[in-house]
Symmetry: C2
Subunit: 124 residues, 2 copies
Amino acid sequence: MAADADGAKERRSIARELKRGSLELIILHLLSPGEAYGYEIVSKLIAETDGALELSDGTLYPVLYRLERGEFVAVRWETPERGVPRKYYRLTEKGREQLERLKYEWTTFANAMRSLLDQDRSAK
Amino acid sequence: MAADADGAKERRSIARELKRGSLELIILHLLSPGEAYGYEIVSKLIAETDGALELSDGTLYPVLYRLERGEFVAVRWETPERGVPRKYYRLTEKGREQLERLKYEWTTFANAMRSLLDQDRSAK
DNA sequence: GTATAATATCTTGCGTAACAAGATAGATGG
DNA sequence: CCATCTATCTTGTTACGCAAGATATTATAC
């Protein structure tokens, strides 16, 4: 049905917009316990949020490259005896600071939204 | 100082990204108690969030136009005896439904983020 | 009376981020 | 040898927020 299709498309695009500005935080956060490689990050995120948050590899790699360029993460290639080579990412000190800062920015914004939305708008 | 300037610029740009996907919700919410005109919406938002959330008119009008095109808001011009003509916006029924839906989408996303960030990442 | 500021709306152009789609390549299994 | 899985990377599209500027009317100041 058209209504379903449109609804789904629109819902996807809302989720897409909401993620803007949050993905770097998400990824830095997922890297905070230790190093991980790209595919691992994708599955970690889906697992730890029960699918509430997702990202595709086509989204992830550009973000990782951005983080690498900004020296928020450092990189190490590992070629296992069997299997495809993996690129492991880990937080730098600068990345850890950025994580704290982004967490603060996000929380501040979310709290402002929350308190605005919680106001009863029917009684002025 | 360069560090301060960069920090401020970066903070602004983070706030900018975070707003994506939230502005429609914010505006629909501000219109829910009754009609308002553009400039009024801007000052309302700043006042009600103590400046934590802001938007400029150059941002607002395109969003209002989008909402109008989607029939989420209806429009009425008013030319007061003294003063510049004002364009008043009010929610339609469809707009009220959209408001509920966006509120749900936003809350779902924010809760997922919150619960992810609240996890202690140092203990795997 | 003429600047200047304030109120109010609208438009253009830019930068950037998320993502779909597809390319690449080695490993595994039938 | 063909398909499928793991894993990474690239290209192009789309849409949004916003800075900057245009326009018009009214109010204030000099």
